[in-house]
């Protein structure tokens, strides 16, 4: 037995711990997601300085300002990005800011933008074409971002619904970036880098970004250089923003599940490493014998 409990299979406890069936791990993950959704824990989410800066930047805009709102995310990251976009739109509409939506993601971006703009716009009794508009998608993001600086109608002759821009009241007042006060990006890809490099650098437009958690560390360098005024990182950032605009929604509900999952993954890492070291010690003892 070599001082270690051996199972029926002849494997030690530590060996069996290393090869634990992945279905057990998956079941634990599944339970960690479902349980807090059914029975919320209401864990508090402390607000980071980057999220507060995001909120303050939008909140300080004068009523009636035009905000460019790129929906630069794929449907796959909707659980993370949609709450940010929803909270951002709620904040903009509550402040009576006028929103010009667009997307540099061809697959789904304009449809998501349409759905969110219409549903949140309806919450605040906003009118399409007067308070908000969806320009849709055009291929070749670098040409789109730079071209809009001179004349938006050259890049988007019509909006997503096929209406000519010169017959949309809001767009008659927004010929190019000179009439735009602010950019609120929600993105799950490198588009934030391009907004910073092509639009902030050349046209000096102030901007904030809501990005997926995996992108947030990279974006922090733009915060430090003041190229981004604020940042929301992943579902936690969205939950913080929901807290700041005092409208709890999907992100706040999802944070309990995310907290448990993080905790479980940390437990897995610690348990896996403990087992790994114990097995190594056991094997070296066997070698000595």
């Amino acid at each position: 037995m070599n001082g270690t409990a051996m199972g029926i299979s002849g494997k030690s406890f530590w060996e069996r711990l290393q090869g634990v069936d992945r279905r057990i791990l998956y079941t634990l993950i599944f339970a960690s997601v479902i349980i807090p959704i059914l029975w919320p824990l209401h864990l508090p989410t402390p607000v980071t300085p980057e999220s507060r800066a995001f909120f303050n930047a939008v909140d300080s805009l004068p009523s009636g300002s035009v905000v460019l709102f790129p929906f630069d995310f794929w449907p796959s990251t909707l659980p993370e990005t949609e709450p940010m976009a929803v909270a951002g739109l709620r904040h903009c509409f509550r402040k009576n800011l006028r929103v010009v939506g667009l997307s540099n993601v061809g697959m789904g971006g304009p449809s998501i933008a349409d759905r969110l703009l219409d549903s949140i716009g309806a919450e605040f009794h906003k009118t399409y074409g007067v308070d908000y508009v969806n320009l849709g998608y055009k291929a070749n993001y670098s040409a789109v971002l730079l071209g809009m600086g001179s004349k938006i109608a050259d890049i988007f002759p019509t909006d997503h619904r096929g209406t000519r821009l010169d017959s949309i009241p809001l767009m008659r007042q927004v010929p190019n970036y000179d009439s735009v006060k602010f950019v609120l990006i929600v993105s799950d890809n490198a588009m934030t880098d391009y907004w910073v490099a092509l639009v902030n650098a050349r046209y000096g437009l102030p901007m904030v970004a809501g990005v997926t958690a995996i992108m947030a560390p990279k974006m922090l360098s733009y915060i430090q250089s003041h190229q981004l005024l604020g940042l929301l990182g992943g579902m936690k950032g969205a939950a913080e923003y929901e807290q700041l605009i005092e409208h709890s929604d999907k992100a706040s509900r999802g944070m309990d599940a995310q907290s448990l999952i993080h905790f479980l993954i940390i437990a897995f890492i610690i348990l896996g490493n403990f087992g790994f070291f114990m097995l190594r010690r056991e094997q070296s003892q066997k070698g000595q014998n």
Binding site: Q18, R22, L25, Y26, L28, I29, F30, V33, L43, P44, T45, P46, W74, P75, S76, T77, L78, P79, G108, P110, S111, I112, D114, R115, D118, K138, A139, N140, A143, V144, L146, G147, G149, S150, K151, D154, I155, H160, R161, G162, R202, P217, K218, L220, S221, Q224, K236, S259, I261, H262, F263, I265, I266, F268, I269, I270, L271, G272, N273, F276
Partner: protein
């Protein structure tokens, strides 16, 4: 002439964009605006090229009775249904295209992404091992950041969020900035090579 003309076009286009970046409101800026509109049109055609290419590849698999022909057939059916509904009935809210996208495609893509959580958890248990000093540092940093970024972290130890912030804003950002600067320098030098005609692999020759 066959290679000189594309190199000349690349040189003029690249130089025009560089000059326009520093001269707003000038003649160069006006010409570059026209070029940018052309770019979006060319971009649209490149999408069409991609669509035709993917249809050809999968049609060939179906026609030659390839072992994966059923997957290809499935792709072609979805391609025709989504493409056809968009072209013939529009893509606005409430259209067939929009319904198919919102009710089928978006949930499927979100589901695929969500499944990653299970693989990450399994991989964290099986593969994330402190086998060396550097991997141990990575592991400790990852655990601290994960704990510091969740509400439970501050219950375990109130200083954890500030530790996580320090890791993110000092060592992590230093590395990120280095990568960003390196990538930007690489992109700038590659662009210069293309503009000056030194790099010609885009012409299809080495």
């Amino acid at each position: 002439m066959k290679s000189r003309l594309p190199v000349l076009v690349a040189f003029i286009s690249g130089a025009l964009m560089i000059l326009a970046f520093f001269g707003r409101g000038t003649v160069v800026d006006a010409v570059s605006d026209r070029a940018l509109t052309w770019q979006t049109i060319v971009g649209g055609f490149s999408l069409l090229l991609g669509a035709v290419s993917i249809a050809r590849v999968h049609w060939k698999k179906v026609a030659t009775r390839h072992e994966d022909r059923f997957y290809s057939l499935c792709l072609l059916i979805c391609f025709v249904v989504m493409g056809g509904s968009g072209v013939f009935y529009g893509i606005g809210s409430g259209t067939l295209f929009d319904t198919l996208f919102q009710r089928i495609q978006a949930p499927m893509m979100s589901t695929m992404f969500s499944v990653l959580a299970f693989f990450i958890a399994s991989a964290a248990y099986r593969a994330f091992r402190a086998r060396s000093a550097s991997s141990a540092i990575l592991l400790v940093a990852a655990v601290l950041v994960m704990l510091g970024r969740i509400p439970m972290g501050q219950y375990i130890y109130h200083g954890l969020p500030s530790w996580a912030d320090w890791i993110m804003t000092v060592p992590s950002m230093a590395v990120q900035r280095g990568i960003l600067i390196g990538a930007a320098l690489g992109a700038a030098s590659m662009s210069l090579r293309i503009i000056l005609g030194i790099e010609r692999t885009y012409l299809g020759r080495g």
